[in-house]
Amino acid sequence: MQLQQMYQEIILDHYKNPHGRGLRDPFDAESFQVNPTCGDEVTLRVRLDGGTVADVSYEGQGCSISQASTSVLTDLVVGRSLADALAKFDAFQELMHARGAVEPDEDVLEDGIAFAGVAKYPARVKCALLGWMAFKDAAAKAAEETSR
């Protein structure tokens, strides 16, 4: 069965026990993203502190993949510099679009490497990226906001 390739234990764990879930104040910017084919949605807030991602909080509904990948996201970016966080975004996005042709770098993506199997199912790539897109959008807004 190929299913295990997609639904790695790490993913199911994050799904059942998501990290950082819930919307928190204060925040600098918020992004709402939706997957138009399935109606999955996420609202995600970013708080910056100097050049650092101080908090990421979120709420939403969606499948195991979208929920788990947002949970992994918070682990990866909170406490990092914004530049580091965006580099992780790039690495995760590259992995998801690679259809399994890219070997993920565990040093960069940590638990995120579990999504390599998802990348082989193009219909689920959008799920895995939903929270990440919200992060990218909110982070850009927050950076603009705090640089004013």
Binding site: L3, L12, C38, G39, D40, G62, S64, I65, Y121
Partner: protein
């Protein structure tokens, strides 16, 4: 659905569908339960389209050469047979690219009526006019009406849906009034399977002088449908959902309405005379078929309706009814599974949508896919309906002539396996 009708010989007809003999996901038998989205095509349809292209192809309604004659004959013969299949005649049948275009055609043509002269006055929409739809519409029969309302100042209103997934007709008299210009509704819901009471709604619309627009995308492929008998003013359906090619939809319009309706798409083949500053337009159906038509696709759909007619639409409906009831009964026995839509087979077609407690429909679909069972997941282009029923999305199994009870069994086994895989009791 008379008892004397012999059942479909599914084993025999499956051989007509080449795709059904392939396997998916490492050798699993393909159990295709996504015909509500698009059907598979039998060799008869593929052959007809290819034979046309390899032997008779030319631009229709034009050139005086032999191929052009043959192509025109093939195209118009298909139109006549497709028309007969839905109880009407060729001059009431317009080819579009899909059902969505057909609904847009009616909405846009009504929007154009304001600048199209006195003949079109009855179609004009403006402030104070109302368009009534339902909460169970496919986006194709909702968004075009939102848009024309926004452009013209008309108001959009809608029938609610009950918890059981039926139309709530309790406020019909306050909803459908002399202000109502259009009543647009689906014959059969692509999510719930619900078959709506067309006769009652048409009677009400006639009482107030409203035009009826029937979305027949999910009825025409699955049961005998006669637009003239139903008494609707306009109706649409799609070739690809009924064994025919992609890229072809059908709009039915009552003769006198099509004759008065202003054009929508304009260009070649739909004109009467053209000068630089102004044009006049051909009679229907040509008036609504601008540009080179979907010639070979019409030929393909002609072959599809021949195929379906040979099976017999009564038998098709009876066959799908049996599968639907088996699926509903089977799902009812699995704890934590909730069917979205009527729980029994009464006034209900073969779309079986459901949710599994604790498992997102996307994940349900993935586990089913892993077992070779292809269902659709998401809101099925009926987002407001899902919101109304309190689910973000659902998984949907839908049946067609080539499905059998073994497919239903595989589906039910897949749902049980999904629960096991995710450890949901």
């Amino acid at each position: 659905m008379t008892a004397v009708t012999a059942p479909l010989d599914v084993d025999a007809l499956r051989a007509d569908f080449p795709i059904l003999s392939r396997t998916v996901r490492d050798g699993k038998r393909l159990v295709y339960l996504d015909s509500g989205a698009t059907s598979q095509r039998p060799n008869q349809v593929l052959d007809a389209e290819r034979a046309f292209l390899a032997t008779h192809n030319a631009a229709v309604h034009r050139g005086a050469h032999q191929l052009a004659e043959e192509a025109t004959d093939a195209y118009e013969s298909a139109r006549a047979r497709i028309a007969a299949f839905v109880g009407t005649s060729a001059d009431e049948l317009v080819f579009t690219k899909n059902a969505t275009e057909g609904i847009n055609l009616v909405a846009y043509a009504m929007g154009n009526a304001a600048t199209a002269g006195p003949e079109a006055a009855r179609f004009v929409l403006g402030p104070g006019d109302e368009i009534v739809v339902t909460e169970m519409e496919h986006h194709a029969n909702l968004v075009p009406w939102q848009q024309v309302a926004q452009r013209t100042g008309a108001t959009l209103r809608w029938f609610a849906v009950t918890d059981e997934g039926r139309l709530d007709l309790s406020d019909v008299d306050s909803l459908v009034t002399p202000r109502t210009k259009v009543l647009a509704f689906t014959h059969q819901s692509n999510v719930l399977g619900t078959v709506n009471p067309v006769a009652a709604l048409v009677a009400k619309a006639r009482e107030v002088g409203a035009l009826t627009v029937l979305d027949a995308c999910q009825s025409v492929p699955h049961s005998p449908v006669d637009f003239a008998a139903l008494g609707v003013d306009f109706a649409v359906f799609s070739s690809h959902k009924m064994l025919g090619p992609y890229g072809l939809g059908v709009l039915y319009g009552r003769r006198e309405l099509l004759a008065a309706l202003p054009p929508f798409l304009t260009g070649g083949s739909m004109i009467e005379t053209v000068e630089m500053a102004r044009s006049t337009f051909a009679p229907p159906p040509q008036r609504f078929e601008a540009g080179t038509p979907m010639t070979s696709q019409a030929v393909g759909l002609g072959a599809a309706v021949d195929y379906l007619s040979a099976l017999g639409m009564d038998r098709v409906a009876a066959h799908e009814h049996a599968l639907t009831v088996a699926a509903l009964d089977g799902l009812a026995e699995i704890p934590g599974v909730r069917v979205v839509g009527p729980a029994d087979g009464v006034d209900r077609g073969g779309a079986v949508s459901f949710v599994v407690d604790g498992i997102h429909p996307h994940d349900v679909g993935q586990v089913l896919d892993d077992q070779g069972v292809a269902v659709r997941v998401g809101h099925h282009c009926a987002w407001p309906l899902h919101r109304r029923l309190g689910v973000p999305a659902s998984a949907r199994a839908s049946f067609y002539v080539y499905n059998d009870l073994a497919d239903v069994e595989a589906f039910l086994a897949g749902v049980r396996e999904t629960k096991r895989f995710f450890g949901v009791a």
